[in-house]
Symmetry: C2
Subunit: 159 residues, 2 copies
DNA sequence: AGATTTCTGTCGAGATCGTCCAGCATTTTA
DNA sequence: TAAAATGCTGGACGATCTCGACAGAAATCT
């Protein structure tokens, strides 16, 4: 479904999405029309979801990041979800198993903003907020090569 | 520090990082050399952290995503952090305030892989794992315009 | 097995795009 | 007020991308 050349292309593009077709072609050993065609199909198939820029939130004044766990009160699940979606400072929200129904990431410019936003859902859900102090790993794609962690573990055991 | 034109450019690029200078220039009402210069400076200042592609993890076989809260045992904090960083399936990790020291995002291809990875830190930290069932909000940048939530809240109060 | 279709690739030409440079207007500094 | 600095425009040049025609390998069908 996804051959070595594709993975190779993706790896290069993750690092720099502006790499020219010519350069990509040279690095994977194809002609640029071929690369162009492969990219087109990767997009068509949804493998490449988007070409985008990563923006430093600090540059926009967001000095604070928090992870908020949200437990809607009985019957309020959909209202809470809608509310979260409509607050643009929530940059990410996952619906998860377990007691916490949602885990969301919040960007704010000040503690005051944080309080203001949490207030807006306080009467519909219980929340636990954790302020982010550091980011040991900042958003990276999972490994592109086929060897999953379990495979590597096996190899390690064998050696 | 960041004027309307810059924000406008960023907004367009977030949606499609491949938008040509010509197109960007047309949309913000500048010439392409000017846009080029602005982008160069946005990168130089670190506002634009990178041009990248967003890849669908499913296309790579990662059918499962989990959020793992990690509490290293006494004295194991650094070892645990190093361990997490070295496991590529952890695509994100934040160091937060509160009982949970780390909150991390994990991509795996199977429940077996999940178990295998968590086993590797089980003797050095307590973990709580929540499987992601759905993603109401998938990674979006915080609002680019200057009006923070608190400002809007004030407006709402006033009306 | 052999023929046909499909898929994936190359090459070259024309169109498009990005970059460099000279010059101009506006703002800042002395 | 004069001088310097900043940010912009337009045009020319070079590089890049895209399109069409065609070739070879793999898969499919008879």
């Amino acid at each position: 479904m996804l051959d070595d050349l594709d993975r190779n292309l993706l790896e290069i593009l993750v690092k720099d999405a502006r790499t020219s077709l010519k350069e990509l072609a040279a690095q994977v050993g194809l002609s640029s029309p071929s690369v162009s065609e492969r990219l087109r199909r990767l997009e068509e198939r949804g493998v490449i979801r988007a070409f985008t820029v990563e923006i430093d939130p600090l540059a926009l004044g967001y000095t604070l990041q928090a992870i908020v766990r949200i437990r809607p009160l009985p019957g309020k699940l959909h209202i809470v979800q809608k509310l979260i979606e409509d607050i643009p400072e929530f940059s990410e929200c996952d619906k998860v198993t377990g007691d916490d129904c949602f885990v969301a990431r919040l960007f704010v410019r000040s503690i005051g903003d944080l309080d203001g936003i949490l207030d807006r859902i306080a009467d519909k859900a219980e929340t636990s907020t954790a302020i982010i102090k550091a980011q040991p790993i900042r958003r990276r794609p999972p490994p592109l090569d086929a060897t999953a962690s379990r495979d590597r573990a096996k190899v390690l055991q064998a050696s």
